[in-house]
Symmetry: none
DNA sequence: CATGAATGAGCCTTCATTCAT
DNA sequence: TATGAATGAAGGCTCATTCAT
């Protein structure tokens, strides 16, 4: 019935990436347990058996998917941690723009959903995400805010909570997009959310002296 | 043939509730697909067969769990929607305190995680949550904010985004608790988050005239 | 199409035995790897799933099958080891008759084939069989023969080899039955083999003085 | 464009033999079903695909392995069948020495294990082994023994059982080596077994007149 | 009503076999 | 010829669901 595409494509080097990409989509849609290898293989354009040429188990694919989203972001966090000592407002605007850009352009939103959803089933994954990425980023931002407090730029208050306040709307907007937009909810415009949020928050965050 | 003390048997009318409660815990930990009926039954203190006396399928239990968390909150949302026209600051502080209390005292956090995680597998659930609860609450808050803007109390800006900004840190703090605290992350103190956030945000939200 | 036997039989206590019995037959015919759980279940008269109510894995079933054949024979070996100090000829005739009877009446032949065939795949099983059964039995017989040598009843020679000589024809006859009889070979009559062998061997084994 | 020294490539004519040799080792260790073509190919030093240039299926390899061990032994059996009519003792000693030598020097022991283990899965193989080798050898020996009985050299008794008695210890010693020695059992010295056995057995076998 | 043994469809994983290169 | 990536049927195992008791 089906004249068929060529059966063999012989592209060993490309396969793992294709599979991980397909797996990301399926895991992010279905969650780990409900994701079927058949579907991952089909979306990657290979047979079920081929997946096992590159990954030992379904779990290993999952780890690869989650890990793939960590590595490229660690550098960004480090850069942020070593940020220039200029006025906090500039730093926060820069960070927000960067994070917003990453979340818009990459599948980080889906991965985030996976990490949250499977944290109890794969605690090490949650741990790695926390230790290597989330906690680092939060700590770096809290550190910058604490430094600004020491300079008299920022009002008293828990700097870690300030950091949380700063990124929370972005994360929620992403989860909103993943969760409710597909069933008809009005989407949030991420850049608009971020800029309105930053300006509002800064206004309440900065001391009068710092509002140059 | 008196066999002694009467066995203490919970009334059958309580069973469905106990099952739903147990199911909530298991679904919230494992997600829908990875949750096992064996475990739900065990935690509810009944046999696996008994579960099927009250629910037709695993999916129905899931719907009951999610639905159970919606009903009691709808009233609160309606009350909020009909809120008194006093100064916005008072309203927001009240709302925040209420939501914070609910999230601390009820398993709403776990249900939220479930809804987010299973939205693609159960779109109608996401739809119900959105239409009956989340969107209502967001709309009510946005309405109150828009009204305050009309009164000149609040600066210009998208009121729906303002509403998002307002509740986002709370939601993220809850997901943080569910996701990263079990693997060793420092928890956030929810009341502290909420009060610091409200005060910071109000400061940037209100016009100078409204900061009496 | 099928009016069908009753689906549920509710005989928890009987099941493991029935399954092990069916598994013995299938493993002994096919070997471990070629045996299919479907067939074991079918022959046991249960569904595939039911097997897993009583055994964790296929391997565990295999171990149960092999183990089942060890236990009841250990006692016999111990009895032999503590044998009466009468003339060796009587002892050997008794032992031979006993072993012959066991091999005729029990599936020991099939288990033996399994142990030999899977020794490399399941070394612990081979080890248990050796340590607990085969080596004990051989040692006990060798001991009895050595004692008889000390009494001047038996000619010089390695008593362990004498023991091997004694039982070998029986074992080979059993393997013959399992291997070649099903494809048309003439069977050996086990009792005849054993009695002719014992008499022949004793004649060459005993010293002239002992041939009363 | 001289790339240097010529690659040392085994001639293609040798390949089938190398594959069969590797297959013999793997089949003998694992049994037919548990043997993997990957491993056979690797041990033969060829790719998995190359195996299929010489053999159609795994089964065909198996048949080749088993067949290979038959052919060279058939001649020996024929020679034995046509044996000189000298004293039986000499003949038996010669036969035993010959068989012992073959079993020590060739992998016949492993093949024997395979034939026994897979007889039910491959009845034709068992049949061929029986018809062409085992039954012939046994018949030849039984014939020689019957002739000796006719000459008054050997006591009455079933000559086929006498033949079985004669070779059984050797076979069992081989299976012992394959099965229990790898898990720590004390090995049997095959020549010692054979010579002690022959002398013991002859003593009980021969009539007084023949014990010159 | 309640139990839990039993069922069987479904999924992950393996591996003999194929075929483009 | 030779390779080894790719295939897909098959098998071990799980678990939602059923039903005799």
């Amino acid at each position: 019935m089906d004249i068929g595409a060529p059966k063999f494509r012989r592209r060993k080097a490309d396969r793992p990436d294709e599979i991980v990409k397909a797996a990301l989509a399926v895991f992010s849609e279905k969650g780990f347990a409900a994701a079927k290898l058949d579907e991952i293989a089909r979306r990657a354009g290979v047979s079920k058996g081929a997946v096992y040429l590159y990954f030992e188990t379904k779990e290993e694919i999952f780890r690869a998917v989650v890990g793939l989203a960590i590595a490229p972001n660690i550098a960004a966090v480090k850069a942020m941690a070593a940020a220039h000592p200029g006025p906090l407002a500039d730093l926060l605007r820069g960070v927000a723009r960067h994070i917003g850009g990453v979340i818009e352009a990459t599948p980080l939103g889906g991965v985030l959903k996976m990490v949250v959803g499977e944290a109890r089933n794969f605690p090490e994954i949650a741990r790695v995400w926390h230790d290597e990425l989330v906690s680092q980023a939060l700590g770096a931002m809290a550190g910058a805010i604490a430094a600004a407090q020491a300079r008299g730029e920022v009002k008293p208050g828990d700097p870690r909570i300030y950091a949380l306040q700063l990124i929370a709307p972005l994360l929620v907007a992403v989860l909103w997009r993943e969760t409710f937009v597909p069933v008809g909810a009005a989407p949030f415009d991420l850049p608009a959310v971020m800029s309105q949020h930053i300006e509002t928050l800064l206004c309440g965050l900065l001391t009068e002296g710092a509002r140059a």
